[in-house]
C-alpha cells in the first residue's frame, strides 16, 4: 500500500498527489514513469513521475481525471492509500552537460512530465527555455515551478487569456525567428501538439524528443500492447521509451491505438459513476 501524503486540485480536474514511495523515489530519474493500480478491481495505468524527493522518500504525480481509472484515483483522499505502485519504469531522459540551449515544451498536463527534465537540464548547466501551452489561463499548471528552473519561460493560451495567444508552436516559431540557437527540443503533451512541434522542427533539423503515451498494461516489455511505430521499427514504449525521436514517430498510428478502447472506456466510466452514486440508472 502506498500512502497519499498530499493532494491538491491544481486546476479543474487536474490533481497533484505526493505519495510515500521511498524505494521508487530513490531510483527515479527525469523522464521515467510509474504504473499504479488503485484497488483490486482497477486497471493499471501509467503516470509520469513529475517530481521526486529522495530524502523524504516521496514521488509526485500530476494527472488529469479523464476516465474511470483516473477518476478513481482522483477520489482518493489525503491519508488514504493506493494498492500498487511499480516503478521507476522506462528509460530516463538523456540529460547531460553542454547540450547548450534546450527548449522544453509542455502542452496542457504535459507540463508535469516536462518539468523534471527542464530542472535536470538546468542543473546540468544548460540554458533552458520553457514554453507552456494551455487552452486558457485558468487551466495553466505549474507556472511558478517552471519559471524557477528556466532561463526564460513563455506561456501561450489558445484563447489569448494569458501570455501569447496561439499554440506552443507559435512561441517556438518566435524563438527561431529571433535567431535563438536551439540545440534540442523536448515536447510533451497531447499527440496533436507533439506532432505539430515535430512537423515544425523537422525542416529546421532541430533534434526533437517526444514522450509517448500509448495504452499500457505491465510496463515491463511483456505484453507488447504499448507498441509504437518509430521510423521503420516497432518499439515498445514502456521499455524502449517512452521518449523517442519526434521526427520518426508515426503519430497518426499512435492516435489510432490510443482509441482502441474508447467506447469501452466510456462504459467503464458510466459503471464507475453508478457505483459512486453519480449515475442515474444504478
Amino acid at each position: 500500500m502506498f500512502k497519499i501524503l498530499e493532494k491538491k486540485e491544481l486546476s479543474p480536474g487536474v490533481f497533484r498527489m505526493v505519495i510515500d514511495a521511498p524505494r521508487i523515489a530513490k531510483k527515479t530519474q527525469p523522464g521515467q514513469f510509474i504504473i499504479e493500480r488503485v484497488d483490486e478491481e482497477s486497471e493499471r495505468i501509467p503516470l509520469t513521475v513529475a517530481d521526486f524527493d529522495r530524502e523524504k522518500g516521496t514521488i509526485t504525480l500530476i494527472f488529469q481525471a479523464v476516465g474511470a481509472s483516473t477518476e478513481l484515483l482522483a477520489e482518493k483522499k489525503e491519508g488514504e492509500s493506493i494498492l500498487n505502485l511499480v516503478g521507476p519504469l522506462g528509460k530516463p531522459s538523456e540529460v547531460a552537460e553542454g547540450i547548450g540551449t534546450v527548449v522544453c515544451i509542455g502542452g496542457g498536463i504535459g507540463v508535469a512530465p516536462v518539468y523534471p527534465i527542464a530542472r535536470a537540464m538546468k542543473e546540468a548547466g544548460n540554458k533552458v527555455i520553457s514554453i507552456m501551452g494551455a487552452r486558457s489561463k485558468e487551466i495553466l499548471i505549474m507556472e511558478d515551478e517552471m519559471r524557477a528552473v528556466s532561463d526564460e519561460t513563455i506561456v501561450t493560451t489558445d484563447d489569448g487569456t494569458y501570455g501569447i495567444k496561439g499554440f506552443v508552436t507559435t512561441a517556438l516559431g518566435q524563438l527561431v525567428e529571433r535567431g535563438e540557437k536551439i540545440d534540442r527540443v523536448y515536447a510533451i503533451g497531447p499527440v496533436v501538439m507533439m506532432k505539430s512541434v515535430a512537423d515544425a522542427t523537422r525542416p529546421l533539423a532541430l533534434p526533437t524528443v517526444v514522450s509517448l503515451n500509448p495504452v499500457m498494461v505491465d510496463g515491463t516489455g511483456m505484453c507488447g500492447g504499448c507498441r509504437v511505430q518509430v521510423g521503420t521499427e516497432t518499439k515498445f514504449a514502456c521499455v524502449d521509451g517512452p521518449e523517442f525521436d519526434g521526427h520518426l514517430v508515426d503519430f497518426n498510428a499512435l492516435r489510432t491505438r490510443q482509441g482502441m478502447y474508447r467506447d469501452m472506456e466510456a462504459e467503464a466510466e458510466k459503471e464507475h459513476k453508478c457505483r459512486i452514486g453519480l449515475g442515474r440508472d444504478s
Binding site: 515491463t220 469501452m264 458510466k270
Partner: protein, 466 residues
C-alpha cells in the same frame, strides 16, 4: 483377479457446450474411488519406465501404490520429495510426452493416468487446509534474492527456505505466479484455489515476496548483492517477451500478442469488465495464429469472452501441432475452427485503423528437415482472406532483456537467454544462478520448477563453502 482395463479412467469434465461459455475449470478431478481404481492399473514395474519421463524423477510407482492402499497422505509426501508444485504439474504437465509416454501400459493401451493421480493426491491434501509450519531462521541466516515469482523462482525459494535461508522474491507484477497467474487460463488452472494457495503456503513458511519490483529498474543484481545484503541471487524471469510475425498490419487496432490478450483476461480479469476496470476486445470473429499451448489457451479464452467464431491459423499440419494433445481435443470439442497449413502474410485493416481480415497463404508440407519435422512451403498464388475483427499472435516468446542488460558479467547467448550450467544453474557471474524459461527458452512448468530446485541445491553448496 479382474482383467485390467486398457483405458484410463476418464476425467470428469464440464460438457463442452457448457464450459465454452464459462471460466470454471474444465477438468473436475477424480474422486477417491476412481483414483484408487486407476491406481490399481499400475503394474508397479521393477524398473519403472515412467520415471524416465519425469523431469524431476518423481517415484511414480511408490506414490501410486500409496493411493491404491488409500494412504493418501503418504502419496503426497512421496510426490513432494521431488516436486514442489504437484497440484499445478498434475494439471498442466504435458504428461503424454513425459511420464505417461514411457509407461509400459502405453504399448498395449493407455498409460496409467499418472498426472491425474498426482493432481488427485495434491488436491486432497490442499482441501484439508493444514496449517503450514513457519521456519525458524538462525540469527545469522544468509540471504538469497530470487528474481521472478514463476515456477522456477517459487521452487527455488521454497527449497532454500527449507534449508534455512532467508529468501526474498522480487516480482515485477502485482501478483506472484508468473505464467501460472497471467498466462495459463483459469479454466485450466484455477488461480484462487490452486496458484494463490501454493504461494500463500510459501509465505506462511517465511518466504518474503516483494511485488511491484522490477529488477534492473528498481535494483540491479549488483545492488542486491552489494547494497541490499543478499549473499546469492537466483534469476527466474521467464520468457516474457512477445514475438510478432513482422508482417504488414500488425500494429492495427485489434491485434494482440497472446501475452497481452491472456494477461488482460487472467491477471486483470477483463472477463468481468466493467466490474474490473481493464477492457479487452474480442469482436465476433477471432484468428489466433500459432499451434502451441499458448495458442490453444488464447483461442479458448476468446470463445469464453463471447466470440462467435474462433480460428486457429497454423502453418504446419495436425501432427505438427506443438500443443498438448488433450488441449487440442478440448479446443476442437468446444468448436474452435482449425485452419491448418495456412500462414498469415498480412493483417488487413479498414480505413479507421481496425483489423478487418487476416490474409493467409496456403502451405504444403515438404521433406522432413534436420529436426525431423516436415517443413511447410507456401503454395504460390493461394492467398485468401479470413474475415476477422481480432487477431492474436501466439507464435512464441523470447527472453526479456531487463535483467541481463543491467548485469555486467552475466553472459547471455545470441538469443538473449542467460548462459547457465544445466546441473547447477550457475551463471558466469559468481553468486548468481539462473533457471527456467530465461535459460532454456519457453519450455514447461515442470522443467522450470526442476531448474529452480537444482539451483537451490547449488546455492546451498555455494553458500556453505563461501
Amino acid at each position: 483377479m479382474m482383467a485390467l482395463s486398457l483405458k484410463k479412467h476418464p476425467m470428469p469434465e464440464q460438457a463442452p457446450e457448457v464450459r465454452a461459455h464459462n471460466f470454471e475449470e474444465v477438468a473436475l478431478g477424480y474422486d477417491e474411488e476412481t483414483a484408487v481404481a486407476e491406481a490399481e492399473r499400475c503394474l508397479h514395474c521393477k524398473i519403472p519406465q515412467c520415471r524416465k519421463g519425469c523431469p524431476v524423477g518423481i517415484d511414480i510407482p511408490e506414490f501410486i501404490a500409496k493411493i491404491k492402499e488409500r494412504d493418501f497422505d503418504g502419496a503426497i509426501a512421496k510426490i513432494k520429495e521431488s516436486s514442489s508444485l504437484p497440484a499445478i504439474c498434475g494439471r498442466v504437465c504435458p504428461q503424454e510426452n513425459q511420464c505417461e509416454k514411457y509407461c509400459v501400459l502405453a504399448n498395449k493401451g493407455e498409460a496409467v493416468a499418472i498426472g491425474r493421480l498426482e493432481r488427485f493426491a495434491a488436491d486432497r491434501e490442499m482441501a484439508q487446509n493444514r496449517p503450514v509450519e513457519p521456519i525458524h531462521y538462525a540469527e545469522d541466516a544468509k540471504k538469497v534474492a530470487v528474481i521472478g515469482a514463476g515456477p522456477a523462482g517459487l521452487a527455488c525459494a521454497g527449497d532454500l527456505a527449507r534449508k534455512g535461508y532467508r529468501v526474498t522474491i522480487f516480482e515485477a507484477l502485482h501478483t506472484a505466479g508468473g505464467v501460472l497467474s497471467y498466462g495459463i487460463p483459469e479454466f485450466r488452472l484455477p488461480k484462487e484455489k490452486i496458484v494463490k494457495k501454493e504461494i500463500s503456503n510459501l509465505e506462511a513458511m517465511g518466504v518474503k515476496i516483494e511485488l511491484d519490483s522490477v529488477i534492473g529498474q528498481l535494483y540491479t543484481v549488483d545492488e542486491l548483492m552489494q547494497e541490499e545484503g543478499f549473499d546469492a541471487v537466483f534469476v527466474g524471469t521467464g520468457a516474457g517477451l512477445p514475438r510478432f510475425m513482422e508482417i504488414p498490419g500488425e500494429n492495427l487496432n485489434g491485434v494482440y500478442s497472446a501475452n497481452e490478450f491472456l494477461t488482460r483476461c487472467n491477471l486483470m480479469k477483463a472477463y468481468q469488465f466493467p466490474k474490473y476496470g481493464t477492457p479487452i476486445r474480442v469482436g465476433k470473429k477471432v484468428a489466433v495464429v500459432g499451434g502451441g499451448n499458448v495458442a490453444m489457451d488464447a483461442a479458448r479464452t476468446a470463445l469464453r469472452l463471447g466470440a462467435e467464431h474462433v480460428y486457429i491459423v497454423y502453418r504446419r499440419g495436425e501432427e505438427e501441432l506443438p500443443a498438448r494433445r488433450e488441449e487440442v481435443l478440448h479446443a476442437k470439442a468446444e468448436g474452435i475452427d482449425f485452419r491448418l497449413l495456412n500462414n498469415p502474410v498480412e493483417v488487413v485493416g479498414d480505413d479507421k485503423g481496425w483489423v478487418k481480415a487476416i490474409r493467409c497463404i496456403k502451405m504444403e508440407l515438404g521433406e522432413p528437415d534436420a529436426s525431423g519435422r516436415r517443413s511447410p512451403k507456401a503454395v504460390e498464388g493461394s492467398e485468401f482472406d479470413l474475415e476477422v475483427d481480432t487477431v492474436v499472435m501466439a507464435i512464441g516468446q523470447g527472453p526479456n532483456p531487463i535483467v541481463a542488460s543491467t548485469t555486467p558479467g552475466m553472459e547471455t547467448n545470441k538469443r538473449g537467454n542467460i548462459v547457465a550450467d544445466p546441473e547447477t544453474g550457475a551463471t558466469t557471474k559468481p553468486g548468481v544462478f539462473a533457471g527456467g524459461d530465461i535459460v532454456t527458452g519457453a519450455a514447461t512448468v515442470i522443467l522450470a520448477m526442476g531448474a529452480g530446485k537444482k539451483a537451490a541445491a547449488a546455492i546451498d553448496e555455494y553458500l556453505k563453502n563461501k
